[in-house]
Amino acid sequence: MRADLDIISRWVQPGARVLDLGCGDGELLAFLRDHRQISGYGVEIDEAKIISCIRAGVNVIHSDLEAGLADFGDNTFDYVIMTQTLQAVLHTERLLEEMLRVGREGIVTFPNFGHWRCRMQIAWAGHMPVVKVLPHAWYNTPNVHLFTIQDFEALCQHKGIRIWQRAVVDNAHRANLGMRLAPNLLGELALYRLGHEQNGIQAGHSDVFPTH
């Protein structure tokens, strides 16, 4: 099981309606369906992954996220989830807006470009970072917008998006005191539960960390 599924699953209310953007082979939705009794759909562009979703009994809609979420009405989902996809889309800002138009809350995870290993590789080794959570070389990476925890939170503040919950973990999805004290330096992956003030499902604490 992917460790981030566990964290996300604990954030999602049982029986919720969920839209998973860039759902891949449907693993997260199948997990949430089996453990949190959610209903919903995945959105995916890769034909082979769509077949995997269908085989797993996960509803999947073939669509290009870059074109927005016009197929989905306002506030039709409790959660719109995007795991490790935000850094791979061109229209980051618009997609974030779309997520919170369609869903009452958004759950976003991304690799933190501010992690000390990334910083070291640029600052001392002088090359683009290649780390476990960002395994590609600069010329073949699907990522087009790399950003840090600090960058993301600044964007949320700029757009008036509330951060209901945050988890900062390493690539095995474990958290420790260091990551709590210096998330942007020591965290490899960041997970956020977001929303607009008036739409919140539940107001959590902005610095809740997973406990293992």
Binding site: Y41, E47, A48, R55, V60, I61, H62, D71, T76
Partner: protein, 385 residues
């Protein structure tokens, strides 16, 4: 000519005929006191009668969806690529039913059938039938076959429209609806193509207001042109370029109006061979059924309202190069299903074959189709268990 049929074919099949001695009230207001349907079945109905799949045919299709009628038959049924042992609609798992629709010309009641009131073929007097009429008659057929609930109703193009109508009209009797290369209703452009096809037939001097049977002729030219026109809309620009290009049959221009380009020869061949196996009055009826299809019309023109009745799970498939019923049309169906909060999956298959792609064994299409039907089969086994 296969003396031994391929192992993934249902092999030799025999059509069956059923006369339903119960009146059917048609959308046009007329009533057929009784009606005959010709149909084929493949596979075996399980003891709980939960593994039945209805296949709905498109404009020029019929009940012969798979297998061969005799060992001399060179071409199998029209959806041989999808139906058979180990194929997406796996006849080892499912009991598959396909009937020739009302108004057809392959053995079901239609313009070529004898009108008991006159002792002559119905011809143009056969009522104009709709997709809803077809679905109603298919439900009667299901009753006669002892099938309460279809595991799935599946079709491409006009067949996909019947699958959607089934889900709306008989929500309790269909667990899955698979609509491939379909549309929620025809566009003005779609209707325009149908109208040209109809005018070709209606203006043929041999048409005789539809009573051509009595004159011992058929409106050959009109039907041929209608079919040629249809074929252009079934293929894509890129598909035609790949298949024919500008290739000349004799390698040179002859400066005449014979068929010089390969594509002309192809269309003429399609037209010629069609007139001998299809009835012009039926063609007119089928195009009208397409034009009239509009399930939203009964629900304040709100398609999602129509789908709110449905209980089935849906699979919608489109093909990138299909311009007759383009991916955008399938997306309209999907959007309405999403708005109605129905269970739906949608796959847009990359294919250069145009609308005809739904009949072809394209790997991604086949795999998508198979994956979905494996799920249908798992549910059948859960029901049976």
């Amino acid at each position: 000519m296969p003396d031994v049929f391929p192992s993934d074919s249902v092999g030799l099949v025999t059509p069956e005929t059923i006369t339903i001695e119960e009146p059917i009230a048609l959308d046009c207001g007329r009533v057929l006191p009784s009606y005959t349907l010709v149909y084929e079945t493949y596979g075996t109905l399980n003891p709980t009668r939960s593994n039945a799949i209805l296949i709905c045919h498109a404009l020029s299709g019929d009940h012969h969806a798979a297998g061969y009628h005799d060992t001399g038959e060179t071409k199998p049924g029209w959806w041989e690529s999808a139906i058979g042992p180990g194929k997406p609609i796996d006849t080892e798992r499912f009991f598959v039913v396909c009937c020739n629709n009302l108004g057809g010309c392959k053995g079901s009641i239609g313009p070529t059938a004898v009108n008991p009131a006159t002792g002559k073929p119905y011809g143009p007097d056969f009522p104009i039938v709709t997709v809803k009429d077809w679905v109603r008659s298919q439900a009667q057929l299901a009753n006669r076959l002892g099938i309460d609930t279809w595991a799935a109703v599946i079709g491409g193009s006009l067949g996909g429209m019947q699958a959607l109508q089934w889900a709306i009209d008989y929500p309790e009797r269909i667990r899955h609806a698979v609509a491939i290369a379909a549309a929620p209703r025809l566009s003005a452009q779609n209707i325009a193509f149908n109208e040209v096809a109809r005018q070709a037939i209606l203006s043929d001097p041999d048409f005789h207001q539809g009573h051509y049977y009595e004159y011992g002729v058929i409106p050959r030219r009109g039907l041929m042109i209608a079919r040629m026109l249809g074929h252009i809309t079934y293929l894509s620009d890129e598909g035609m370029r790949a298949k024919f290009g500008r290739e000349l049959r004799e390698g040179k221009l002859n400066f005449n109006f014979e068929s010089e380009f390969q594509v002309e020869s192809y269309l003429r061949h399609q037209g010629y061979s069609f007139v001998d196996r299809f009835d012009a009055n039926t063609y007119l009826l089928m195009t009208k059924a397409l034009d009239y299809f509009d399930p939203a019309a009964d629900y304040d023109n709100d398609l999602s309202m129509a789908f709110r009745r449905a209980k089935a799970h849906f699979l919608v498939i489109s093909f990138t190069s299909d311009w007759r019923f383009s991916p955008a049309r399938s997306q309209e169906i999907v959007r309405a299903l999403l708005a109605a909060r129905r269970q739906v999956s949608y796959a847009r298959i990359t294919a250069e074959h145009g609308h005809d792609a739904f009949l072809l064994p394209i790997p991604h299409y086949r795999d998508t189709f198979s994956a979905y039907l494996e799920r249908v089969d798992r549910e059948v086994n859960d029901h049976a268990g």
